[in-house]
Symmetry: C2
Subunit: 330 residues, 2 copies
DNA sequence: AATAATATGTCAACCGGTTATCTTATTTTT
DNA sequence: AAAAATAAGATAACCGGTTGACATATTATT
């Protein structure tokens, strides 16, 4: 049936067996030009007999397109990014694209390396959610790129949730439920990201209510260090009665620590998270959180990237409304 | 500095600017053959000036290797797979490989499509954790493949946790803590996967203790359907006082439903999960579960794949010991 | 000074497809 | 019947690198 192993059967072998030229086989493959029924059948028969699989690499080289999209994100091992990536991957696949992933681990060096290497792999486009700045490749390249939650470059569109609204909702909810000493945690302040809008909203709302805003900037990923930091926050602010945490994983840590320290939740201490992913809402439904419409954001990212790959740069930044998930932590 | 946009600078442009031949530039690129300091500098200067990036596609075509590895798993959006994939990706990257992902969504058709397409993309190897059977491409291909938790083909090595031991630990823990009516859930029975060892251990231990084993096979992903099924289990077995659930996400669902139905945990009802991922242990530390050494398994998968890519097929199946995570759900 | 060894570099074929261009056969139009 | 349109297929150049084979220059050996 299929000869031995499919030792690199090439188009020429098919052509020889079918008694036609390479061109004809290629035409059958791509349904181009005039072809008789008879020829088509002969070629198909030969392809089947040889178990022929075209070598995409050769096609890519000639066509100057790879049907590959690179995704650069801090890590797949996170409820938010894994959901985002899964959704984008599904849609990219439906558009005929494969996905090359790069986990930057929040390391600018690694991000730059990935970027260079994915570009060397001739990806047709890029969707980035890694949070580093000042990487020159983003500046001078005409590769279609879509960014998540960050401002890479004025020419690169940013997709984000309505972070200000999210921060406002979260802070107001805490205040409305009686919290007075409310602490906020966010990513590194230096990062020029729409995410910082959450902090600004938090500060605005706090001041509006005559309360003192206090933000901690978390610029590392290490879980143990986070644990220590949160414990320190509780020590330094024994009267804290609310926190607005910029992502659900951290919020979960805080919830665990608070419980361990004897705070009753939500009576003594209230927490609002951010993201509201499938995973966190399944595993930790009691966490009150701001839900980003991840699926819609993923869909838009892919649609916009497809448009840009096709030369349509008309669409710009997109901001998505957030929703409050009423768990039991407020 | 860099001319306009880096409009496809090719090796020939560099050669021309440096006043040498293509070969010489290629040699500089690959540090092959004899080269004078002077030439090397000239070439580097030219590459910098033109902001040259080699086109990997062309190299791939000639070298017949892509430095690409395909990962086919049900989905990235899952604590277990996302951790596994993140770990493998990191290690593959360190070995000079990029990762092409494919989410099969437990759909055999999609899995086969991915497989064909990744092969067409000329990946140098494949690591699969998708759970479908009878896909012919796995049979007749000499592509290096490593499988997770499934038996694809006798020639393809399988990496798995000690599923029998895990099932035994879980069941004994439940029994030792006084549970009598213990139900087990697992993946589809038809699936010839090492995962079924968990069920066999469960059955063995139950019988050993004179208890009646009862297994539900869950062969779908839909969360709502799962919710309904679990509620039905509670209705059909009102005296159930323990469950051994084959993954932490499902265990979490059960925990939530049980709590909602008024069971006190662990007094009235005990649950043991399986996987013990970073995410579930962070978000749901109270869940008692069997921990797979995901990181080590990922490391081994990558090491074995690298060996096979280098023609060393000596290593075979690998089984990893599991550990019990003592949460508060038993 | 002749010979060998070593250093430096070029030429052209090759990887496996795609496609513009051209030739030849067949059918339709005038 | 001649001219035009349509169908079928072949040739060869091309995509952008890599590398074996070969040519020439420089240095070391006898």
């Amino acid at each position: 049936m299929y000869g031995e192993v499919n030792m690199k059967v090439k188009i020429e072998d098919v052509a020889k067996l079918a008694g036609v030229s390479k061109t004809t086989v290629s035409r059958v493959l791509n349904s181009r030009g005039y072809l008789s029924e008879k020829t088509i059948n002969k070629v198909h028969a030969a392809m089947d007999e040889l178990n022929y699989r075209p070598n995409v690499i050769a096609r890519q080289l000639f066509k100057q397109e790879t049907k590959l999209v690179g995704l650069i994100f801090p890590t797949v091992n996170d409820p938010f990014y894994s959901q985002l990536i899964a959704e984008m991957e599904k849609r990219l696949f439906n558009n005929g694209f494969k996905v090359l992933i790069g986990d930057s681990m929040n390391d600018p060096k690694k991000e730059e390396l990935y970027l260079q290497q994915l570009m060397a792999h001739q990806v047709d486009g890029l969707i980035v959610g890694a949070h580093n700045q000042g990487i020159p490749e983003y500046e001078n390249s005409n590769l279609p790129i879509i960014a998540f939650d960050r401002i890479v470059n004025p020419k690169i569109p940013v997709i984000s949730s309505d972070n200000y609204q999210g921060g406002k909702l979260a802070t107001e909810l805490l205040i409305d439920n009686g919290a007075k000493v409310i602490i906020h945690t966010n990513g590194p302040k230096t990062l020029e990201s729409p995410t910082q809008e959450r902090r600004i909203a938090y500060q605005d709302v706090m001041k509006e209510h005559g309360l003192e805003p206090l933000t901690y900037y978390i610029d590392f990923d290490d879980r143990k260090k986070k644990d220590l930091l949160f414990r320190k926050i509780f020590r330094d602010h024994p009267n804290v009665d609310g926190m607005f945490i910029s992502n659900d994983m951290d919020a979960s840590l805080v919830l665990n620590i608070a419980t361990e320290l004897g705070y009753r939740i939500p009576e003594d201490f209230k927490v609002v998270g951010y993201d509201g992913t499938y995973i966190t809402r399944t595993l930790l439904p009691r966490l009150t959180t701001i839900v980003q419409p991840i699926d819609k954001m993923a869909e838009t990212a892919v649609t916009m990237l497809m448009a840009r790959i096709n030369g349509d740069n008309s669409e710009g930044n997109k901001v998505f409304p957030v929703e409050l998930w009423r768990g039991k932590s407020v």
